[in-house]
């Protein structure tokens, strides 16, 4: 269970033309203590964005008039670095790639669970990209992305390429809850509705290899959402 945040002070701009969908996202985000402004179309959204900066933008692709791709480009011209999460009813890999190419930071396909949206927002807000070549460390676990070398407590672990990719994603986002869908997109790049079931199996393999030497558990399940990587002492002080 994620702790309900007390007023986060995070300003969210929600660009969504479907009033019901907008209302449900608005309600959910407000309960998560975000401060939300809603724009029903791209022009309004850009106006709002010009008058006051936002911390994050949720942008539907199918909008009347200016479409989400165009809004995204305009936003990028306005605030070069505000995180943008795209929403779309189009789940094709091509659309996803196009969205990310336009400058979106993440892409979520409708229908989605609110917990999924919320997890992605948190991930985007806390994102502090670590340089691709830097050695990652969580507790006594280290991963060297360049040499593709993983050690725990000095002992070298033998991982398959998929396990390595999975571990790298978890470690890069240590402390953050990652949903199964996020993991699936990041590590597998296959559209398959059973992938989320399969992820549990891969996580179990990875856990087994990480815990062979008797170290404490680092990959924790978050019920109903996904997984988080953190060392226990971190979680106790969180």
């Amino acid at each position: 269970m994620t702790q309900p945040p007390t007023d986060t002070g995070v300003r969210v701009l929600l660009v969504e033309d479907e009033p019901k969908l907008a209302a449900f996202i608005h309600k959910g985000l407000t309960e998560d203590a975000y401060s939300v402004e809603t724009a029903p179309d791209g022009e309004t959204a850009l106006q709002l964005a010009r008058s006051a900066p936002f911390d994050i933008v949720i942008l539907d692709i199918e909008l009347p008039g200016m479409d989400g791709f165009a809004v995204c480009r305009a936003m990028r011209a306005l605030h070069s670095d505000v995180p943008i999460l795209m929403l779309s009813a189009r789940g094709m890999i091509e659309d996803r790639v196009r969205g990310l190419d336009t400058g979106a930071d993440d892409y979520l396909t409708k229908p989605f669970a609110f917990s999924e949206l919320s997890a992605r927002l948190r991930a985007l807000l806390r994102r502090q990209p670590t340089a691709a070549f830097m050695v990652l460390t969580v507790a006594d676990l280290t991963l060297d992305p360049v040499r593709r070398l993983v050690t725990r407590n000095g002992r070298r672990l033998d991982l398959t390429p998929k396990e390595l990719a999975l571990l790298e994603y978890l470690m890069r986002n240590a402390g953050q809850v990652l949903t199964r869908a996020m993991i699936a997109e990041q590590v597998w790049d296959v559209t398959w509705d059973r992938l989320t079931n399969v992820i549990d199996v891969f996580i179990n393999h990875l856990r087994k290899k990480l815990e062979e030497g008797g170290g404490p558990r680092l990959i924790h399940a978050v019920r109903g959402v996904g997984y988080v990587m953190r060392s226990d002492d971190e979680s106790s002080c969180a």
Binding site: P111, V190, T191, D193, R194, N197, D200
Partner: protein, 470 residues
Amino acid sequence: MRVRVLESLRARLTAWYVAVLAVALFLFATLLYTSLSRQLYSHHDEELTAEAAQITSLLSHVDSPDRMAAALEPVRRGEALVLILNGSGDMLFRSAALQAGEPALAQHEVLVHAATRGATHAQFFTTALDSAGTTRFICLPLPNPKGLYLQVGQPIGDVGETLRFVKIASLVLIPVVLALTSVGGLVIARRALAPMERIRMTLEAIQAEDLSRRIDVHPRELELGQLVGTLNQLLDRLARAFASLREFAGDASHQLQTPLTVMKGSIEVALSTPRDSMAYRDVLEQVAQEADTMSAILLDLRALSLADAPVSSVARPALQLSEVVTEAADLIVALAEAADLAVDVSIESGIFVRGDAVRLQQVVLNLGENAVKYSHAGGRIAIGLTRHGSDAVLTVTDSGVGIDHSDLPHIFERFYRSRRAGHGAEGTGLGLAIARRIVEAHGGRIAVQSRPNAGASFTVRLPLAAASQP
């Protein structure tokens, strides 16, 4: 109206080639006229040159204009048209023929033109005289006596006539030829375009009545034959797209009916009397589950409608099917592990086919998922890829519940649920239909062998790409 006429391809074609022909004929007539006149005149011009030379020689010893008359006496009396002028255009000598027949000779501006301009070499010109008719003249400066110009003429009645005839004939005949050509051109254009009209009418009928009809016009012309071929291919694709759209709409409305009914019903029942929060929670959870089902159905319907998009195999690079299958098999192994099943994977490397990697992977995933779904715990699944002849052969075998003989012919149909579907398994009933469409869009075949309680074995054959042929 003029614009309307020119909008017709027939009229435009005709107009174009009549215009081109008119220019060509005009050029031809002009060239003919100039070369003919040059040819005809050159004959006279030679004679005139010779005659002028004779007269010049008669005057070779005459130094003064006053003494010319005597020397020219033989010339004066003859038929010849001879004229001598000074630089001011004054006629100092005229032969008898010119004297008698042409009282107004001095008024012929052309006659004095060359002399007054101070011709330095022989010049030729043509003019019409009252007595002699059209006459060709030579004008040349006399070496003796100096400052005078000799002009010798010759009637050229027939040449003028001929040239005039050519001119008139051209002016009359060219429009006649053009008129005839326009008519002929229109007729030819109409005949050439007649198959187009038939194609158009057929297309009109097809779009109005029945997309399954094809253009049954077989023009002899290669270009039109190709057009018909392309149009028929287009109709094929349209018909397929239409059918798949109709199928999608029909399936969606039909298949979403059940979960919607369940949702609506359970919500209404829940609202009918006040309940405790646990009861509401149960209903909400059920509704969420139904929503997931609907979402899965829509996802699969979309996959189904995209599955048979034709793979233009020529344009696609060969892809390593071995890698695609290996990656998918990894996922199936994990899925099987969760269901307490063992998987034997045996994949021959270096097998290439042409196609869409994402869709081919979906085939393996769907077959694998199917195998997992219908297996008993502790069972075995085998995934294999080999080559056989010119085919890549993918097999997915399970040791599960098997398929009833009566179900076998139908299992690749959309939403076909055999009795084995009651095996506690969930799904949209589309996995195998999607797999078959993808395989067929890649020019392959899919088959199944099974006996009840003896497992099932699915075999997919795809044509190998050249790269993997031994």
